[in-house]
């Protein structure tokens, strides 16, 4: 069986202008979407709490009502599973830092004879408030005072003494337990925790930079490899194609509000790998046809022949890979959905770019360089 005729001779390079305009518009759209709207960062990158609960006797409106006190709460439900909810909260600490500060100030004033030598409240963690005094103080008073503030304490107050330090630790309720209690109260049945993810804001920011760097390193490494295995003129085409693929795919992710987490990064990097795969196969053919006059007289013609010769392979392979990822998208379930979606878009865009963008750019660069030499 044969789908693509072997004697095809489409003038891809000649039509480059048209595709360049289409692609430029798409890439610009991607960049604008990324900058103006931005991706829907998941807890991995944004920081916050994500809790997946299984609880009966409540619908999504009920959960929303139960959690109406929490600022910025987002509730999602998966298709076909009516008793499961994903609850996303923008922070990981339940206590408001300002409220805690006010409380600590008051405590300091409440014991004029004693110096409050240190206070400790870690927003990243938010599990406790520590008060350090130089002399022991009334424990009950500390516990009593906190009730006047909107601080979710567990009621446990630890004391220990290290040298001249008298350390009082007020333990705070965690987000998870408070959220679960609220949902359980509303539904009247026990909630089963399926999954909890907590990422502090600093960790999220660090992951973001790390990821960005990983992508940059990958691109640089690929660029070096192509420049070494092929030639310097080829590298820019490949890298422009990769940038092109990444930006357009990111644009799609923004439009479809796909949760941008570490798995999506994995998908993006794999997609980049695939796209360069296609490009490399064409480059390989150009390299082979370089000294063969039958395949065209100018480099431009040779590039065109090479794209045509490998077209069948490019389309068959892309179709096969697409089928695989598409099955994942359809059957893989919601955890893998974002991954499969990214790959689906990426494969289509990547195939397009390796045919219409990467190699023609090499031809254009070559033409330009020749002109420079002539003048």
């Amino acid at each position: 069986m044969q789908l693509i005729k072997h004697d095809l001779n489409i003038d891809f390079v000649g039509k480059f202008k048209m595709f360049a305009i289409i692609s430029t518009i798409a890439v610009l759209a991607g960049i604008i979407l990324m900058v103006v709207i931005g991706p829907n960062y998941g807890v991995d990158f944004k920081g916050g709490t994500e809790i997946q609960l299984k609880v009966e006797g409540i619908d999504i409106a009920g959960v929303r009502a139960a959690l109406s006190d929490f600022d910025g709460v987002e509730i999602q439900q998966f298709e076909g599973r009516n008793d499961e909810f994903t609850i996303k909260l923008p922070s990981i600490a339940l206590a408001d830092a300002k409220e805690v500060d006010r409380y600590i100030d008051e405590v300091g004033k409440a014991f004029p004879e004693t110096a409050l030598i240190k206070k400790h409240f870690n927003v990243e963690v938010g599990d406790r408030i520590e008060l350090w005094f130089d002399k022991p103080v009334e424990k009950e008073k500390i516990a009593e005072m906190v009730k006047q503030y909107n601080i979710p304490v567990t009621g446990q107050l630890d004391y220990n003494q290290v040298g001249d330090r008298h350390i009082y630790k007020l333990l705070l309720k965690s987000f998870t337990s408070t959220v679960i209690a609220a949902v359980e109260q509303k539904s009247g049945s026990k909630a089963e925790i399926q999954r909890v993810e907590l990422v502090g804001p600093k960790v999220g920011a660090k992951l973001r930079t790390d990821t960005f760097m990983a992508i940059i390193y990958t691109l640089i490494a690929m660029l070096i490899y192509i420049a070494l295995r092929f030639n310097l003129q080829s590298a820019p085409g490949a890298i422009i194609a990769l940038f092109h693929d990444t930006m357009i795919t990111l644009g799609f992710l923004v439009v479809f509000r796909v949760t941008f987490d570490l798995t999506i990064v994995a998908a993006l990097l794999t997609m980049v790998g695939y796209s360069i795969n296609d490009t490399v196969v064409v480059y390989d053919r150009i390299r082979e046809n370089q000294n063969n006059t039958k395949k065209g007289n100018t480099l431009l013609e040779k590039i065109n022949t090479s794209i045509n010769e490998t077209l069948s392979r490019t389309i068959i392979t892309s179709a096969m890979t697409f089928i695989v990822v598409f099955t994942l998208l359809m059957l893989g379930g919601d955890i893998i959905w974002g991954f499969a979606f990214t790959m689906c878009v990426g494969i289509v865009v990547g195939t397009y770019s390796s045919i219409f963008i990467a190699s023609p750019i090499t031809a254009v660069i070559d033409k330009y360089m020749k002109k420079e030499q002539a003048t």
Binding site: M1, L3, H6, K54, I117, N122, V125, D127, W132, P136, V162, G163, R165, H166, T176, I193, R195, V196, L198, G200, V203, D210, A214, A221, M222, Y225, I226, L262, T263, A266, L269, T270, V272, G273, Y274, I276, N277, V280, V281, Y283, D284, E288, E309, S312, R313, I316, T317, M320, T321, I323, V324, V325, T327, L328, M330, L331, G332, G333, I336, M343
Partner: protein, 573 residues
């Protein structure tokens, strides 16, 4: 030449057998056939597939800094005494990492600067008023100390968790002072908590029986706390008696004892378990100075006291520890030595004689049955061997990931792998005919090899990992598509089938190699930077690339060869 092909066939066949054997433990009941565990422990499933425990701990780095300042303060005192510089006081600041030193004579100022201030590189002089010097710990040193205490905590935790016999635990630093621990498949939350959370700071301190601060408070005792008479000996054989406090309420007792310890000593509690299972706490007044600590241990193991049939933990000290132990037991003969574990007195035996050889024991104060005590002893020796945490840790989150979610994911993964495989297999046969079928065989082998590799090396299969396998299937097919397209092309160029076949493999190779290598570059960076689940994906991707090169090129060529040898003149491509 022919011999060469036969060898190749045997090589492939033996690889298949090895792969199947490696996969047996993953698909057969290991409980029923224990010999399977000798091969490997089966495929490791990640937390997302298997369920398990997820902890986030924060390390109290401030406490580590304080401890270091306190210890350095002792060092400064020692140094002053060695250099014979008379001083009034050396005190650590209760909050800041500072030490204040008051020396006696102006004439010692230069000597003090040269021999003490310059000697302690971790400090710098920040203030001086007359004879009072303030030394502050250097900022970069503190930063270092904080970082290293988190790293050290991770190391210790890893040793402890390894001793639990868990596979593929994830222990990573999160943020500046948090540690993330994931124990896939582990269900015993309480045991994990106690083993991970224990600071396991072991200290040997001398009981200060010569001091009796509590008798002054004998009147007006609060309810629930009683005073009792204790007796002891001094090193020169004299008898002393003192009062100690007992209560069932630990907090109340600590509260009451607060501020009652004389300079240089502190109150610690011992937990006593009474017959009815009730706990009681008694106070011990001990000298603040810890003569020996857990880091001088070389070993801790469980032994059984034959006479009383009770398990205990026996300790061995290193050379330095053994020397100190001998010295201390010699110096404090007839007195009591408190063995303190995480600020709690474990026991306080009387030193009967000078002990050489560097062995000591910890008894377990438990009323539980033999097996429970044995389990406790084992866990204690485990944490002592692994070493103490450099600072206490607090649990920020401990959660179990429900296994039902995992089962659901596995089910969906299986379905999508099967469906993807089926569609690709059919498409290849429809498009390429018999050679498509051969490529399909290679594809199935590829999946087999990836799984076998993961089982053999204990790599963790995560849900993204399953996705990785599905993706590799697409890539394995690519190599065969490249070869087959090339054979078609060479046939069109007028070559005979055999030549076209040879040329197809030869000329497609560079494209396959270069394209796979660029994908491997992406895989390598993912593996390097990724956390848990993403790493799992990268591993399957990398293994898949390597294995697909082998199956798609080498294996299919061998199959082609034998098909043609069997008399088939032309294979549909």
């Amino acid at each position: 030449m022919e011999k060469n092909w036969t060898m190749r066939a045997w090589f492939i066949l033996s690889l298949i057998i090895v792969a199947v054997v490696l996969l047996l433990p993953s698909f057969m009941d290991r409980e029923k056939y224990p010999w399977l565990s000798k091969i490997n422990e089966g495929l490791n499933l990640g937390l997302d597939l298997k369920g398990g425990i997820h902890f986030v701990l924060s390390v109290d780095v401030e406490k580590a800094v304080q401890d270091r300042v306190d210890r350095q303060t002792d060092e400064i005192v020692k140094r002053l005494e060695e250099e014979k510089i008379p001083f009034t006081s050396v005190k650590a600041d209760p909050v800041d990492p500072k030490v204040r030193i008051v020396i006696n004579a102006e004439s010692d100022a230069d000597k003090f600067r040269d021999k003490v201030v310059d000697y302690f590189r971790t400090f710098r002089k920040t203030a001086q008023t007359g004879l009072t010097y303030e030394l502050t710990m250097r900022e970069d040193y503190i930063q270092n100390l904080k970082e290293s205490s988190v790293d050290q905590a991770i190391e210790t935790l890893r040793t402890r968790i390894d001793a639990l016999g868990l596979k593929e635990p994830i222990i990573v630093k999160q943020g500046t002072n948090s540690i993330l621990i994931q124990l896939p498949g582990y269900k015993d939350v309480e045991r994990a908590r106690s083993i991970i959370g224990q600071t396991a700071q072991l200290e040997f301190k001398i009981v200060a029986e010569d001091k009796d601060p509590l008798s002054a408070h004998a009147d007006g005792m609060p309810a629930g706390i009683t005073l009792q008479q204790g007796r002891g000996q001094t090193s020169d054989g004299g008898m002393v008696s003192y009062l100690y406090a007992v209560s069932e309420n630990k907090e109340a007792l600590l509260e009451w004892l607060k501020d009652k310890a004389p300079e240089g000593t502190e109150f610690l509690l011992e937990e006593l378990i009474k017959a009815e299972g009730k706990k009681e706490y008694m106070s011990w007044l001990v000298e603040r100075k810890a003569y020996l600590t857990g880091d001088m241990l070389t070993d801790a193991r469980v032994d059984v006291d034959q006479q009383r049939n009770r398990p205990y933990v026996s300790l061995s000290f290193d050379r330095n520890g053994a020397r100190i132990f001998e010295e201390v037991t010699g110096k404090f003969i007839k007195r009591k030595m408190a063995i303190v574990l995480d600020n709690r007195v474990n026991s306080a035996p009387v030193i009967q004689s000078k002990i050489a050889g560097g062995n000591a024991m910890i008894t377990l104060n438990s009323m539980s049955d033999f097996n429970t005590t044995l389990a406790e002893a084992k866990d204690l020796s485990l944490v002592l061997r692994a070493g103490s945490l450099p600072a206490p840790v607090t649990f920020e989150e401990n959660r179990t990931v429900g296994p039902s979610l995992g089962a659901d994911s596995i089910e969906k993964g299986k379905i999508s792998i099967a469906a993807g495989l089926l569609v690709v297999v059919l498409a290849m046969i429809i498009y390429y005919g018999f050679s498509g079928f051969i490529a399909d065989l290679a594809l199935v082998l590829n999946v087999l090899f990836i799984m076998a590799f993961m089982a053999a090396f204990g790599a963790t299969l995560t849900f993204p990992g399953i996705a990785g396998i599905v993706l590799t299937m697409g890539m394995a097919v690519d190599a065969n598509v490249l070869i087959n397209e090339r054979i078609r092309e060479e046939l069109r160029n007028g070559h005979s089938f055999l030549t076209a076949f040879e040329l197809g493999y030869e000329r497609a190779f560079s494209a396959i190699f270069d394209s796979n290598l660029t994908t491997a570059i992406a895989g390598f960076f993912l593996w390097n930077f990724g956390s848990g689940t993403v790493k799992g994906f990268a591993i399957t991707l990398l293994v898949g690339i390597a294995s697909s090169m082998f199956t798609a090129i080498y294996v299919t060529k061998v199959i082609f060869h034998f098909t043609m040898k069997a008399g088939v003149k032309k294979i549909s491509v």
